[in-house]
């Protein structure tokens, strides 16, 4: 076991989500503030109790986004002793780590997403989205003319990995298809989901080809949305109105691949495997204890990477595994006969939030407040958010 002083010492006490939509005609900041206010109210705390903020985006001074400086100013929070911007799996983990380390007592995480102009023709025709893109800071010359830099922060290498995975393990697309159908089935039961229609395996295979072998149903749905979380100490959480959801263990992951994705290591050496090992080296809860599983689905190949990295099955066997753990009555996965997967529909159905909505759903399910969608007796949730290449998280949440 690794050194692990934070075990169960911090808790998520507030969750806030905006509506999800393809064109909400709002800014990042407007969405982020709605989610933030909703999460702080949900936590039942005064806003001045927030003394740390993890915002969205890359650079603190960027405009047009929901960075921590903009959020603090907009929310009227007087003093923070900690602040950073982050995304994907990292944002939540950074905030939890800051509380655990005592850099702040109550951290607010806000993650905003908007459909980008390069994601559809209608989005590219929207001047607000075009100008947002123009002034956004991705910190590289991606798309700047050198084809060799095309895969710096690109989705295409995920498609290439999907193809290499199928080649190396001699498998078809079953794993990806079952994951896509599962998430769309759950989405059809989640009123917040942008994609309300469930799909069949046949629909999946017939869907439009984007980057062979990746099809449109392998890709999350670009939307406008925001999610926010309030994280504080376990001690403080016990005085607050919601049932505390504890962070039992968590890990990030990095490899020597760096920012040029074509330098990928082997399938079982990518960053999800590093994060998964980091978690298992710290968690007293094991895979058998997991009631709910939330693998990030920016692309279905991400989710399959998470399934294999945390050890539900051996590398290359996800297709067989998911097929044999399929519940045809509900058209969903029940791993080892019980563990449900991405109960909110994930990015494939609810919409693209960089994984932030997986944390929100896990917390709500562990509180036991989800009514008709509630998974009975859910105590432990395993969440894997992020990329093969960067910012992957592995987080074990638990409730009493």
């Amino acid at each position: 076991m690794a050194r692990h002083p934070l075990r169960d010492t911090i808790a998520i006490v507030g969750v806030g989500s905006t509506p999800y939509g393809r064109d909400l005609q709002r800014s990042h900041l407007s969405l982020g503030l709605e989610a933030a206010v909703s999460a702080i109210r949900d936590a039942g705390i005064d806003k001045q109790e927030v003394d740390g903020i993890c915002g969205s985006g890359m650079t603190p001074l960027a405009q047009g986004g929901a960075g921590f400086l903009s959020l603090q100013g907009s929310l009227g929070i007087e003093r923070c002793t900690w602040g950073v911007n982050s995304w994907l799996g990292s944002a939540f983990v950074h905030a939890g780590a800051a509380v655990a380390a005592g850099l702040c007592d109550t951290a607010l995480v806000v993650q905003t997403y908007m459909r980008e102009p390069n994601m559809s023709r209608s989005a590219s025709a929207d001047p607000f989205r075009r100008v947002l893109e123009q002034f956004s800071d991705v910190g590289s010359d991606m798309g700047g003319g050198d084809f060799a830099k095309r895969w710096v922060h690109s989705g295409e290498p995920y498609a290439a990995w999907m193809k290499r995975y199928m080649h190396d393990y001699g498998v078809g697309k079953d794993a990806f298809a079952y994951m896509a159908v599962n998430n769309r089935s759950h989405g059809s039961r989640n009123p917040a989901a942008v994609m309300q229609q469930p799909i069949t395996l046949e629909d999946y295979h017939a869907s439009r080809m984007i980057w062979e072998p990746m099809q449109i149903y392998d890709m999350d749905v670009p939307v406008d949305c925001a999610e926010a979380h309030v994280i504080t100490t376990a001690e403080r959480a016990r005085d607050l109105p919601n049932k505390p959801v504890y962070i039992h263990a968590m890990s990030l992951g990095g490899t020597r691949v760096g920012e040029f994705y074509e330098n990928s290591l082997g399938w079982t050496e990518n960053a999800h495997w590093v994060a998964a090992k980091g978690l298992w080296d710290r968690s007293e809860l094991r895979l058998d204890d997991v009631d709910l599983f939330y693998p990030y689905d920016g692309y279905t190949i991400d989710a399959i990477g998470c399934v294999e990295a945390v050890g539900w099955c051996k590398p290359g066997e996800a297709g067989e595994f998911l097929k044999s753990n399929w519940d045809p009555a509900d058209n969903i996965l029940r791993l080892n006969g019980r563990t449900q997967v991405s109960t909110h529909g994930g990015g494939l159905a609810l919409g693209r939030a960089g994984g932030a909505n997986f944390y929100s759903e896990a917390v709500r399910q562990l509180r036991g407040t989800e009514g008709a969608r509630q998974v009975p007796d859910a105590k432990n949730a395993l969440i894997n958010i992020g990329s093969f290449f960067h910012d992957p998280s592995a987080v074990m949440l638990r409730a009493d």
């Binding site: 050198d146 895969w151 040029f260």
Partner: protein, 151 residues
């Protein structure tokens, strides 16, 4: 085909206005302008270093010098683009993008186009060799199948 002769920094900046040129990568682009594909290499232990970084990750030597590669390699992984990032662009046939594993070192890969090969004939581990194609009045590296499959 053009030969720019000895190319100074100012000219490299003029030739590649869309590229983020740095002290660490400019030799690569200076060479590209002369139609040579160079990759940084450690002067002490011989390790090839890519992307263009100033220190050898194996031995921490700072004696890193660009060196021309043989141009031979294999297709490690690839995808065929049916839709480009710019939604207004229309593609007549799928565009291949391949991570070519260069013969010089295991795991040393360069992202490139595959040309002179039908998209459906591209295969994992297929031997390829460097060639050059003109795009926007500039010569750029691409890879093509090695005739007879020799690597």
């Amino acid at each position: 085909m053009r030969n720019y002769g000895p190319i100074d920094d100012v000219t490299v900046f003029e030739l590649y206005p869309g590229i983020q040129l740095t002290r660490d990568n400019i030799e690569h682009y200076r060479a590209l302008a002369e139609q040579k594909l160079v990759i940084n290499r450690c002067g002490d232990c011989g390790y090839w270093i890519y992307p263009h970084r100033p220190m050898c990750p194996e031995c921490w030597s700072l004696k890193v010098k660009p060196e021309e590669i043989s141009g031979f390699g294999t297709v490690f992984m690839f995808t065929l683009l049916y839709q480009l990032r710019d939604p207004k662009s229309h593609i007549m046939e799928p565009v291949p993008v391949a991570a070519v594993e260069l013969a010089e070192q295991k795991g040393l890969r360069y992202l490139s186009r595959i040309v002179n090969c039908a998209p459906e004939d591209i295969a994992h581990d297929m031997p390829v060799r460097l060639t050059w194609i003109e795009i926007g009045n500039m010569e750029w590296p691409a890879f093509e199948p090695v005739p007879g499959g020799l690597g």
